[in-house]
């Protein structure tokens, strides 16, 4: 909160407490919507896409768009890490030519 406000601004203890409660309520509210979606689609795990969808569904369109981009970027980054590991394994096991035993 302090980062957003001017340097001479002060925040009462009660304001900080209510902000914490609001943040918790925000998480519960969006999670409920995401969870309903998972339940309807007969899935057990709430993932990042469900959270993004729930944000959009509840009117937080701007947040939803930003979070989608954030997820996309992170999945790419995580995918690169996985790819690097898999490439090492693939290089060991990959044989470009299959040595078939010729019938005869």
């Amino acid at each position: 909160m302090k980062k957003i406000l001017p340097p001479n601004a002060k925040i009462s203890k009660e304001a900080k407490e209510i902000m914490q409660e609001c943040a918790s309520e925000f998480i519960s509210f969006v999670t409920g919507e995401a969870s309903d979606k998972c339940h309807k689609e007969k899935r057990k795990t709430v993932n990042g896409d469900d959270v993004c969808w729930a944000l959009g569904s509840l009117g937080f369109d701007y947040y939803a768009e930003l979070m989608k981009m954030f997820l996309y970027r992170n999945r790419e980054a995580e995918g690169d890490k996985v790819d690097n590991n898999q490439n090492i394994k693939a290089a060991v096991s990959y044989t470009p030519f299959s040595f078939n035993v010729m019938p005869g």
Partner: protein, 116 residues
């Protein structure tokens, strides 16, 4: 040194620990998610991280709006009622109306009582 904007920093960051610790504790976020609904059984690793960033945006917006109320009242200290006023003024924050009303001890009755 040029400081990145709030949102460019948000998008440039990554899930891995390389970008530094998250602002909000992921374990607590996960706990709130599980407690929110009995149907929530499993949560993917990325969901709390998305919430961490989303909560940052949420807190930023609510704080800015509340500060506007503080300035209107010609004060420099942000009080609980400023947060409550900001919530009342924004449609998408309707889900918080009961929360801020309970805390301020007011009973909110959005529908006016009209006599027949």
């Amino acid at each position: 040194m040029r400081q990145p904007g709030a949102y460019s920093g948000l998008l440039a960051g990554g899930i891995s620990g390389k970008t530094g610790p998250h602002s909000l504790p992921l374990a607590r976020i996960k706990k709130i998610m599980k407690n929110s609904n009995d149907e929530v059984k499993m949560i993917s690793g990325e969901a709390p991280i998305v919430f961490s960033k989303a909560c940052e945006l949420f807190i930023e917006e609510l704080t800015k709006r509340a500060w506007m109320m503080t300035l209107q009242a010609k004060r420099r200290t942000l009080h609980r009622e400023d947060v409550a006023s900001a919530v009342m003024n924004i449609d998408i924050f309707d889900f918080l109306v009961n929360l801020v009303s309970e805390n301020s001890g007011k009973s909110e009755d959005p529908q006016p009582v009209t006599e027949a």
